[in-house]
């Protein structure tokens, strides 16, 4: 939760975070305003690399308990789903992370008790993401069916 608070303050209450957002939304406007794009790029890369390293360290120190060459990968793809389900907001992402971890645990329980394959978790995660993106698209754009002209 402290990490979430730190990211929220960084993004929405600091000049560096504002620079990041302007650079992401309108690069030309950021250049016109005199913001350094390379500085914003390096800041984002370093902060996100640190977050990824912290996540890996927590995974190794917690559930796995030892550093092995077979640390389970794939958290990056799950993080994409977490970020979009959380509507790209730090507070929303906390709730979506809890939801996604429930998917993982539910998948393991379904595997052990009902004999379902573990990949069913990935299917549900993919369905969640595609449904969400489809809703976003259908909210932003209206489908109009046109009859065939003869």
């Amino acid at each position: 939760l402290l990490g979430v608070l730190a990211v929220w303050i960084f993004l929405f209450r600091t000049r560096a975070g504002f620079t990041q957002q302007v650079g992401g939304l309108a690069p030309a406007a950021a250049r016109y305003a005199g913001y350094s794009s390379s500085k914003a790029l390096w800041t984002a890369l370093l902060v996100s690399g640190g977050a990824a390293g912290l996540a890996g360290a927590l995974e190794v120190a917690g559930p796995i308990g030892q550093l092995t060459p077979y640390v389970p990968a794939g958290y990056g793809f799950a993080a994409i789903i977490v970020a979009y389900v959380g509507r790209l907001h730090p507070v929303g992402m906390v709730f979506s992370a809890v939801l996604m971890s429930m998917f993982y645990i539910g998948g393991e329980l379904a595997q052990s008790r009902m004999g379902l394959p573990k990949s069913i978790t990935g299917v549900f995660q993919g369905l969640l993401l595609f449904t969400l993106l489809a809703c976003d698209t259908l909210i932003a754009y209206r489908l109009r069916w046109q009859g065939r002209r003869v």
Binding site: G3, V4, V7, F10, L11, G17, Q20, Q21, G23, G24, L25, P27, A40, L41, T43, A44, L45, V47, S48, G49, G50, A51, A52, L54, A55, L58, E59, G62, P63, Y75, G76, A78, A79, I80, V82, A83, Y84, G86, L88, P90, M93, V94, S96, A97, V98, M100, S101, M102, Y104, I105, L133, D136
Partner: protein, 38 residues
């Protein structure tokens, strides 16, 4: 009751890693390095 406590503990355990990984993605997304559609 103990099983619920274990469930909550496991959820928070797995969710923390996911949330931190997603924070990194959020900053990349806001900075425009990754642009996945929105």
């Amino acid at each position: 009751m103990e099983s619920y406590a274990l469930l909550v503990a496991a959820t928070l355990n797995a969710g923390t890693v996911l949330a931190i990984a997603a924070m990194g993605l959020l900053i990349n997304e806001k900075a425009g390095i990754v642009n996945s559609g929105r």
